[in-house]
Symmetry: C2
Subunit: 344 residues, 2 copies
């Protein structure tokens, strides 16, 4: 199976964005640093050394899974962590967060579970939940369905911004384990579950709720709804111990869609797939769906949620600072007309 | 007809918010000024005099109307103007904007029309379009449907923040005309159109496309899709000419839902309904829907999009600065257990 067959085609989004790029560029103010396409937008406030980093995200169709299993808390936390990690990739610490919750008919109990968890996640990451919008749109959503968007503003001193231009050939790539799919590739995962349920002549719910020996007795539902890991504490430790050159948050588009965003155009990455063990959740999905390996790595994080480029001389210090970090590869020169991530 | 019967019940949103208020309050950081419930959240950045104002909004089911009439540009502009006005109500000028666009299957042409118009509106208001998220969620939306959320950060010098606490008994209320429903009360408006179409045994589209003498030969579709008016230039002129005490942006919840947000708890407003002419669009909807007058004023802006409280001595200067502004009433003491807006 392919992500495209599950109804998601990243090239459509790229096409859409290309059509308006010039009109978006025309909105640039002198305070804006850099161009479209980074993990967050940068805005230097006049009269201060602080640069604001703004980012927006959704949870995607993980929402549908949360609804099916009546487990709404996780998606609120997911959204905050996703946004915090995007800000981290620019070097920023979270300042404040706003949410948009939209549904056909508001169920105050579900809302309170989702947004309450969001508030708790904000608090845990030291981020103010500064506002939100709750929209009731009769007829726009299926009964019980809701959509969720998050907006986060972080701050970073100008000389602490992480800029891919700082990355050098020979830099070492450190990977931090993910807790699961985080918030990407759920349409494909759900299509695989549906296919399996159909083949087994069972309900999807039964497939999701069955204990699996491959998952150490856990269920697929639990594994799929695992909370998006937040890397704030890890990145703080890492920046205290080593010179971090750049950070890639592996989200929609997987490895090839995200790792190059943290590299200058002339450089690529060589990554050793054997440097970490792909978690059983991903192996199950790949096997059940007959997903080609490259397709899997272009859709899911495959067990690594954050990749950090550091100076090679800092490797020992970095690995000492982060107990579960793994050296996964190196930065090398990009080869013309080839993917920027080379698997070794 | 009532707004509630059209599927939107504002008390549900209030109930939902009440359930999480304490958990949201617990996220407060020292930089946060004020409490939940303002038109925008305030965040004072350390080391600067500038206070950030953050606000988030959607367009509601005006989206469905735009889709029915294949007129997608307006909703992008609406969203930017809605957010800019909310920031204005706190005294802030827009700095940057981000958008969230979510749909089942992305149509790059529709996306470009919506978000392109959004970019143009940002440019016109001097606001950077700093980022966005485009989500494809197969199965979550009806074919062709999309949802839209906007997020705006503005800035204001600390001593220029508009604080309802500054409002005094006897202050004059100035109203600025709206261009139509702006972005609120569309579920009720659409239910009224559907009822009329049913009674006339015609398609909704035909009802929306028919020229109407009451609308000077214009169509109901045009009147309903009129762009949310942006008051940035007007508020700049007004603040240069007069001491603005506070501003209410009349959005979801109409007059009673918004005007009190710009007043201290002990004060109310007395508003003369004859001080302006309710535009024909609202009169048509009220008549067709058999909507009670109070219900109409609690749902729609009824022709006034922004209400500004100014010192009584500034009335002449304010009205001179704004050619289409109208004196609509005054600030008075609130009466116990009565609505804060008293109609005269």
């Amino acid at each position: 199976m392919k992500y495209r067959e599950a109804g998601v085609d990243i090239s459509r989004a790229e096409d859409a964005l290309a059509r308006i790029r010039d009109r978006v560029r025309a909105t640039k103010r002198p305070e804006v640093i850099g161009d479209i396409g980074a993990f967050g937008g940068l805005f230097r406030l006049t009269g201060t050394d602080t640069v604001l980093v703004a980012t927006t995200d959704g949870v995607g169709t993980k929402l549908e899974l949360a609804r099916l299993l009546d487990r709404h808390e996780g998606v609120g936390t997911d959204l905050v962590h996703h946004c915090v990690n995007d800000a981290l990739a620019m070097g920023a610490e979270p300042l404040f967060f706003l949410d948009y919750f939209s549904t056909a008919t508001l169920d105050p109990e579900v809302f309170a579970r989702v947004v309450g968890a969001m508030a708790d996640a904000c608090r845990a990451q030291g981020c103010a939940l500064l506002g939100g919008e709750t929209a009731e749109m009769p007829g726009m959503y299926a009964p019980g369905a809701y959509d969720l968007a998050g907006f986060l503003v972080g701050g970073v001193a100008r000389d602490r911004i992480l800029d891919p231009a700082a990355v050098r050939e020979g830099d070492v790539l450190i990977g931090l384990p993910s807790s699961g799919l985080h918030t990407n590739g759920y349409s494909l995962a759900r299509a695989i579950v549906a296919k399996r349920a159909h083949a087994d002549e069972r309900e999807e719910r039964a497939v999701l709720d069955a204990p699996r020996p491959e998952l150490r007795g856990g269920t697929l539902g639990d594994a799929l709804l695992a909370t998006h890991r937040c890397y704030l504490a890890e990145v703080r430790s890492l920046r205290a111990a080593a010179t971090v050159r750049s950070i890639a948050h592996l989200t929609g588009g997987g490895w090839e869609g995200n790792l190059p965003r943290a590299l200058p155009i002339a450089l690529g990455a060589v990554v050793d797939r054997d440097s970490w063990i792909v978690p059983p959740l991903f192996r199950m999905l790949v096997e059940w769906g007959g997903v080609a390996e490259n397709e899997a790595f272009d859709t899911w994080n495959m067990g690594i949620g954050l990749v950090v480029a550091i100076a090679a001389t800092d490797e020992r210090a970095a690995l000492r600072a982060l107990p579960d970090a793994i050296r996964i590869g190196m930065v090398e020169r990009a080869r013309p007309d080839m993917p920027r991530v080379r698997w070794a």
